[in-house]
């Protein structure tokens, strides 16, 4: 069980760095390549929400921790923005017309859709979001 972490400033210009980091950690953990884009996007959408809606352009940091646990790739995001639990956010209504298309909540929706499990807890240090994707074949290399 190996844990690797990365700290970034709360700046959307850092998102590409986070995506590269998660991709590389997933590869090292032996994750199914077909599932990697899902966990990368789930993380990207979650961090985007922290930066844009949590810190709202203010200074801050986001810590990204990736850990392989059995068949699961576990990504923990920690930040010190105001408390926000995305797991309780309602799904947007995507059955509407283009003119009525929902402009909020799509990132949260996608992160839940693409991950196998998303949990939130408020800690004394801030927000902690855990994203889990079962994508590691412990037998080595096959599909999950």
């Amino acid at each position: 069980m190996t844990t690797n972490s990365l700290r970034i400033e709360a700046d959307v210009g850092q998102l590409a760095t986070i995506r590269s980091f998660v991709r590389e950690q997933a590869r090292r953990a032996g994750a199914d390549p077909r599932a990697v884009p899902d966990i990368v996007q789930a993380v990207d959408e979650s961090v985007t929400n922290v930066i844009v809606h949590g810190y709202r352009g203010g200074a801050g940091a986001v810590d990204v921790e990736v850990e392989a646990v059995g068949r699961s790739l576990v990504v923990r995001l920690r930040d010190q923005a105001p408390a926000f639990d995305p797991t309780g956010w309602p799904d947007p209504d995507t059955s509407v017309s283009l003119e009525q298309w929902p402009q909020g909540g799509m990132g949260v929706f996608l992160s839940r859709e693409l991950a196998d499990k998303v949990t939130y807890r408020r800690t004394p240090d801030g927000n902690e979001l855990t994203i889990v994707k079962e994508c590691i074949d412990s037998r080595g290399g096959g599909a999950c």
Binding site: L15, Q41, D44, V52, T94, L98, E99, Q103, F109
Partner: protein, 136 residues
């Protein structure tokens, strides 16, 4: 990092081709909206979004595509801070499909995002550039 290349093609009607190369996320989506707004201001009425080299698209990319579609329909560019109040008041059209904006060669990750959010149904998608241009 996202690179945007603009080309103008003459099919049955003039078509502006926006080729996106790189990753479309919260750091780059506004560039797409701004370039499209410039094209529309210069008179472009039809845009083909070439996504063949777009290796990543987040939900911000959906916002950009939606914005371009709405601008082509005559709505004002969105205010990322202020939301979409004006857009929400726009009258729905009879057809779901957007005739003024079409998509070319989205890679699997981008196509999945379009599909899972239901946005794919609004846009004709092509894997042949000539066919896409002639479809306008």
């Amino acid at each position: 990092m996202l690179s945007i290349t603009i080309g103008l093609e003459r099919a049955r009607v003039p078509v502006a081709v926006m080729k996106l190369d790189g990753e479309l996320d919260a750091a780059t989506y506004q560039d797409v909206i701004n370039r499209a707004a410039e094209l529309i201001e210069q008179g472009a009425g039809h845009i083909l979004l070439d996504m063949g080299e777009l290796t990543y698209m987040g939900s911000s990319g959906l916002f950009a595509i939606h914005s371009v579609a709405m601008m082509l329909r005559g709505e004002a560019p969105p205010d990322p801070e202020g939301g979409w109040g004006a857009i929400h008041e726009a009258e729905p059209r009879d057809s779901e499909k957007v005739d003024e904006l079409k998509l070319l060669n989205p890679l699997p990750q981008c196509e999945r995002v379009l599909d899972r959010t239901g946005m794919k149904r609004f846009f004709e998608t092509y894997d042949d550039r000539r066919a896409a241009l002639e479809s306008f």
